[in-house]
Symmetry: C2
Subunit: 348 residues, 2 copies
């Protein structure tokens, strides 16, 4: 019987009990409110976890890139939303391959994206469900005016390769409500049906029922939670399922311990402090190089020693998973299984 | 004939002419000054590039983790320094395996690291060359006083599993000279030979001959250079060999273009701006999410369009390589070869 203390470090580990509680909690919320839950697999990148989410009642999954979708379709996942503008012939060819094997929905935010994509798919004898991304306070992609949404929806429906299905926004926050509401009214007035209104983000997840018209949500991090969520009050310590087991390799001064994980173990996402040390809550990870984590232990009464194992809740779950090839599942410190992080690094 | 403009994006590409010039320049400098060049393969993570570096005259390579060394020994690299405290039975077992197949040198910075390691190796009938890390202004690992260096060197030489060979420091900067010089004098006084004095860091590389006693340098980034080096004046634009080819996927406003690479393509290392856009020097990558790069194009006279390819010099070469599975080599825009980034993610 192997425990998490027997693992070579650094090791990425997940508390399966906590993870399952997290999964059930959001699925139950969605069921109660008649909302579709579409887990965003960019967080875990593991087909088996996507299948678990489907079994619990998910309506499908979301993949940020075609490469993730290819891994998931290969693993038998039947319904995938790619909420991302697909641009260029390589992408069209790969989408066509997937659309022949699974129910694929894509998102677009401009005529420049929609027209050549539709043209290619029509040539291939395919019609792909399409939603329009509207912008949010994130100021990333997305159509910025309701009238432009209507024009784009009309164009989509006159092409033969795409079929207009609705809208998406990220995050589905209070701030993003007005434009979605306005766009829906304008579509209704223009006689255009929008059966799918897709919102998203874990921080806003439990307020999704307050967002008018939302039919489903894309949510990734809720499966694990992380230190950025803990700091922001989005989750509690007992809801953090993902951890990294590390070893203290140096204690050059009484104020400083060095652990054997740095940015290549935790990513540099979301700044400092770069994780929460479970055994030493007073400790602070104040700096990282690629393979070293710098821990300020000056406020710890008892100090970690060379060779001691520490358990760190990482800053950013998705970014951390992307640094690892394997995720190890445990219950009560006993290792139960391990998953290959099959869609890690699928950035195309 | 495939060009870099035919590649699916985002794609990690390297200008082979620039890379070879970078490699030759530092090797020539080291040759002129009678210094050993020990390329740190944590930057490129590619056995074939390590072999090229050896062929040009490198004395060996450095690997930050055992996992990198395992890939390199498997590929036939004969002489490896692991400038990293190895702690715990898993590490001892793996080191013993490597030490039977190649010339391995390790570093230690405390009795707590050295003693159990030496004990294990002695049990296995092995003696491994060992250098002592002294601290620097980086305040990471390393012994902090010359007397402690002498004590640790003596202990190493009385164990049967380790053999004292010298010192290492990172970076080998002006600030780190006094402690190294003091430690060398103390070792000399104590009758202890230190044939290997290993310095490092690309920014200090061309001043290594000014560092008293240095016998070799560990340098990684010099092979590619990056935007952080360019900004700091360590290299010029014509010396930046590593680039990422991306596609513009959205231009929601006249001020903003969104590219299809974010932190999963570039890493989050070294903050903003997160790369240099070759085609639009006035553009600024001011934000990233995992799969999106936010580019401020407000100062560009001519603006990038959806579908246009951009070439970005990444912030941090090592961190960027670690996000990718493949590096594509080109000359004059023509694709010449591709390498698997075989030691990517080898964090153990």
């Amino acid at each position: 019987m192997q425990t998490i203390f027997d693992l070579d470090t650094p090791a990425l580990i997940v508390d399966l009990d906590v993870m399952e509680t997290n999964l059930n909690r959001l699925q139950n919320y969605c069921d109660q409110h008649g909302l579709g839950l579409r887990p965003h697999v960019k967080t875990h990148k593991i087909p088996d976890l996507a299948r678990q989410q489907m079994k619990l009642g998910a309506v499908g999954i979301a993949c940020q890139k075609l490469g993730e979708a290819e891994v998931m379709v290969e693993a038998g996942l039947p319904d995938i939303l790619i909420p991302y503008n697909l641009v260029g012939l390589h992408k069209y060819e790969r989408l066509a391959q997937l659309a022949r094997r699974a129910q694929i929905t894509v998102a677009v935010d401009s005529l420049e994206v929609a027209r050549p994509l539709a043209g290619y798919l029509h040539q291939q004898g395919l019609v792909v469900d399409t939603i329009i991304e509207v912008t949010s306070e994130l100021n990333r992609c997305g159509v910025t005016a309701a009238d432009d949404v209507v024009e784009l929806a009309r164009t989509i429906n006159t092409t033969h390769g795409l079929r207009f299905q609705g809208l998406m926004v990220y995050p589905s926050s209070v701030q993003s409500m007005p434009l979605v509401t306005e766009a829906l009214a304008a579509l209704h007035k223009a006689g255009l049906e929008a059966p799918m209104i897709s919102g998203g983000s874990s921080p806003t997840a439990y307020r999704s029922h307050e967002f008018p018209g939302l039919t489903e949500i894309r949510v990734g991090t809720y499966i694990f939670n992380d230190w950025s969520y803990l700091r922001s009050g989005i989750c509690g310590l007992e809801q953090c399922a993902l951890k990294v087991s590390v070893t203290v390799i140096s204690t050059p001064t009484s104020e400083r311990a060095i652990i054997d994980g740095g940015t290549k173990t935790f990513s540099s996402d979301m700044g400092y402090p770069m994780g929460y040390v479970v055994e030493y809550p007073e400790a602070q990870i104040y700096q990282m190089s690629e393979e070293h984590g710098f821990v300020d232990v000056s406020r710890c009464g008892h100090k970690p020693k060379v060779g001691e194992r520490l358990t760190v809740i990482p800053n950013h779950a998705c970014g951390t998973l992307n640094m690892h090839d394997v995720l190890i599942g445990f219950r009560n410190d006993t290792v139960e299984l391990q998953w290959e992080i099959a869609a890690r690094g699928k950035i195309r």
